[in-house]
Amino acid sequence: MGILLHIGRYFILLREVLARPERPKLYWQRTLEEMDLLGVKSLGIVALLSVFMGAVITIQTSTNIDSAWIPAYVVGFTTRQSTILEFSPTIISLILAGKVGSNIAAEIGSMRVKEQIDALDIMGVNSAAYLILPKIVAAVLMNPFLVTISMFLSIFGGWMAGVGTGIISSEAFIEGIQWDFDPYTITYALIKTVVFAFIITTVSAYQGYYTKGGTREVGISSTRAVVYSDVVILIANYALTQLLLI
């Protein structure tokens, strides 16, 4: 099937998803459940990755800047900038595309092959909205929190690795993370995060919703959800960077 057909069907699905909910209270309950599932339950992996990511950035920056002309605080500055501008919003979103995206596609895909989506449709429920909208809202609300936490933990991980291994003093690192700080970088990172959350949930839900066949096809949809979400995130990352930073 041509890519244009997929794009067209994706937007038709989005129109269904964004229709007025039958029972807003029920949708809100589902949103809270999804916030727990997609957000709170991702906290562990996000925290772990962020601490190690920050540590690696600090060590690599420090070992690659081996010049007396460059002040020590540059290591802290580089860790902060890399984390806020790119690593936390983009890398964490790519990781979430793997964890959350595959979960969404597998869940909705299983419901499709087990006729549960047909059951919803026959009852007169807008199945696309009921299943997908709470996931979009949950991810769009939760991912900025996850990424903000990731930023703090990544910088903390960098500080631990830098100070712990003795490659930089605590004072120099802290001076670096405060140096020439532009709050707009946070705005830029959070805008990216919200867009990426929307991409992860909608692309993955699309893959799951149009699954045909059996359990093998659910697996294929799940894989596609991760691959396509990652590709779209990378393209969007480039477009947003050009749009918001230049």
Binding site: R23, L26, K114, E115, Q116, A119, I122, M123, G124
Partner: protein
């Protein structure tokens, strides 16, 4: 009453259904029978609106379903209960929550009354004390019964049942068949059962539509079915020794 008029459906170049005309009466168990791949499931999906036919129409008490707008279609669908072949219970919801689902979505009664109604439906299908269990924790027969309870929760006018006996032992199959018949009479519903189980046909079939090669081949009740001289129909219904014996016994009477 549900009427199907001149319904045709194709997928790509493959013509699956051609000019189907049938009437499914209220208050009785109507059955659509046919070999695997004959088009009976596609016909059922066209009737409930999961497939859009290229030609023809489906009338729900005179309302042409495929010509209704989105909201009106949703309204008709809220009058439909359906039991799927796989039961299609929601895995993440308990037995009680599954039955409560359509009520929470569409009913306007207070929550306590919804609960009461859901428990009444479960009791009606002989499921008691299993409210908190999940679909994976109950047997296939129980899943079917919970599926029926969910289907009747909204007091439907139309009940669709897809292969109710698949995967069930003969005894449980009879229990499910009889339950469907009792509920049809009790709720005065238009019930359509899609099946190729001849036991089920002989047990409850009041109006039988035989679909063959994508066409409506034969229509009658279970008594006429045994005496029909239609070759294709006989080939289908007398495929089993049990049915051949039934015919011999009938002929010898």
């Amino acid at each position: 009453m549900i009427e199907v008029k001149g319904l045709s459906k194709r997928f790509g170049d493959v013509q699956v259904l051609t000019d189907i005309n049938a009437v499914f009466a209220k208050g009785q168990v109507n059955q659509i029978i046919g070999k695997s791949g004959s088009g009976k499931s596609v016909l059922a999906k066209c009737i409930v609106g999961l497939h859009v036919p290229e030609e023809g129409e489906v009338l729900y008490d005179g309302r042409s379903f495929h010509q209704l707008d989105k909201e009106a279609k949703r309204g008709v669908r809220q009058e439909i209960g359906m039991l799927f072949q796989s039961s299609a219970l929601f895995d993440s919801l308990s037995v009680l929550e599954n039955v409560l689902f359509p009520l929470r979505m569409f009913a306007t009664m207070p929550p306590a009354e919804m609960r009461e109604r859901a428990q009444l439906c479960l009791k009606r299908v002989n499921i008691e004390g299993k409210d908190h269990l999940f679909p994976s924790e109950i047997s296939g027969g129980m899943q079917k019964r919970v599926g029926i309870a969910r289907a009747i929760a909204m007091n439907p006018k139309y009940l669709f049942v897809d292969e109710p006996n698949s995967g069930l032992d003969p005894q449980t199959s009879i229990v499910i068949d009889r339950l469907i018949q009792e509920l049809t009479e009790e709720y005065d519903m238009t019930t359509i059962v899609i099946t190729h189980d001849m036991n089920s046909v002989m047990e409850t079939g009041q109006n039988i539509v035989f679909i063959n090669q994508g066409r409506m081949w034969w229509n009658g009740d279970r008594h006429e079915l045994l005496n029909s001289d239609d070759e294709e129909l006989n080939e289908f219904i007398f495929a089993s020794e049990m049915m051949r014996q039934a015919r011999r016994a009938l002929a010898g009477r």
